[in-house]
Amino acid sequence: MSLVPAYAIPDNLPAPVTSGATIQSFTDVWGDVWVAKNGVNGGRWKRARDAIYAKWFRNAAISIAGAAVLTLDTMTKDDYGLYSAAAFTVPVAGWYDVVFQLAVTATATGQWCSARINVNAALQGIMRAHSGAAAAISATCIQQLAFNAGDTVNAVAEASVSLACTPLVYWTYATLQYRGTG
């Protein structure tokens, strides 16, 4: 079997990004996707699989009833500013893991809540939890999805009756993570 030379060059990463406000991407000759953004890591390039990750959660009290986009009001980690105006915006095309967990405090048995993931305002995933008692219940929607750059991802919350959302980082949160090109 013939072999290519022992030394290979990931294809000349561009210079650090020092202007503008959007995330830049670059694909090297090995197919690895890199990202850079002015003001993040000095504008230097990082592999998307290492860098494209965001987690936000709900901290303020809110009631959940009919299906509506839930605003996650507190950031845990989002170096590249993927989440804004109640939506994640996908920076580069590829496969992503998306998680949305919704917790509410049920007031009786037989109630339910649904955690939905919408992409470009269309439903892509849903998970529903039913109450067996008057206590907190949580539904975790997990999806691995193929996105185009610019797609928007919303966390949509719904409950069978008006129920108080259970806030905090380990109860009601959403994450977006790039996994690769596919």
Partner: protein
């Protein structure tokens, strides 16, 4: 201006331009596993962790079996590499290693007190996910999910076994529809 960034990649074979299967290669410097396939990215080598992602779903009307059996998915989604196999569109491992496996079902139930049970299986013989009973407290949509970190050998099959005692219908609307199986390669272990 560009910055020259040199990295040592240990003798990747040339692109794969014949045959139909997925080829793999482990570079000696880093242990990174690469795959290539004739007709995919021009046969160029790609890091397995970057490209081995699989998602298959159920699009046609389907009632869950009333006793544990293989769930018949019918449509692979963005399956560039052709990981799906067989009439059930299950996943076939072309490289050994650890995989993150996840599956989700949603059915429309007519009553409270019923449930869905799911198992992720290797070669229809080894159960990798715990038994998961998701029970309804009302009529309507009943959702269930299961996940596992699986170690697979070359040629291993991964599929979902599940049942719902009344055999209620899966929800198949949406794009892609919700009932699905997904697999991602994580590394060699």
């Amino acid at each position: 201006m560009t910055i020259q960034t040199y990295a040592l990649i240990d003798n990747l074979p040339p692109p794969v331009t014949s045959g139909s299967g997925i080829q793999s290669f482990t570079d000696a410097m880093t242990g990174e596993v690469w795959i290539a396939k004739n007709g995919v990215y021009g046969g160029a080598w790609r890091k397995a962790r970057d490209v081995v992602h699989f998602h298959t779903y159920r699009a046609a009307a389907y009632n869950l079996p009333t006793a544990s059996a293989v769930i018949v998915f019918d449509t692979p989604w963005h399956d560039t590499w052709g990981f799906s196999a067989g009439s059930n569109y299950q996943f076939t491992a072309w490289i050994p290693g650890f995989y993150r496996v996840f599956s989700y079902l949603e059915v429309s139930v007519a009553a409270a007190g019923t449930y869905i049970q799911m198992n992720l299986m290797q070669n229809n013989a080894t159960n990798w996910s715990s038994d998961n009973y998701f029970t309804s407290r009302a009529s309507g949509g009943l959702c269930a999910r299961t996940q596992a970190l699986m170690y697979l050998s070359i040629g291993d099959l991964v599929n979902l076994h599940a049942y719902q005692p009344q055999g209620y219908p899966c929800i198949v609307s949406g794009s892609p529809p919700p009932c699905h199986l997904e697999v991602s390669y994580l590394g060699t272990g």
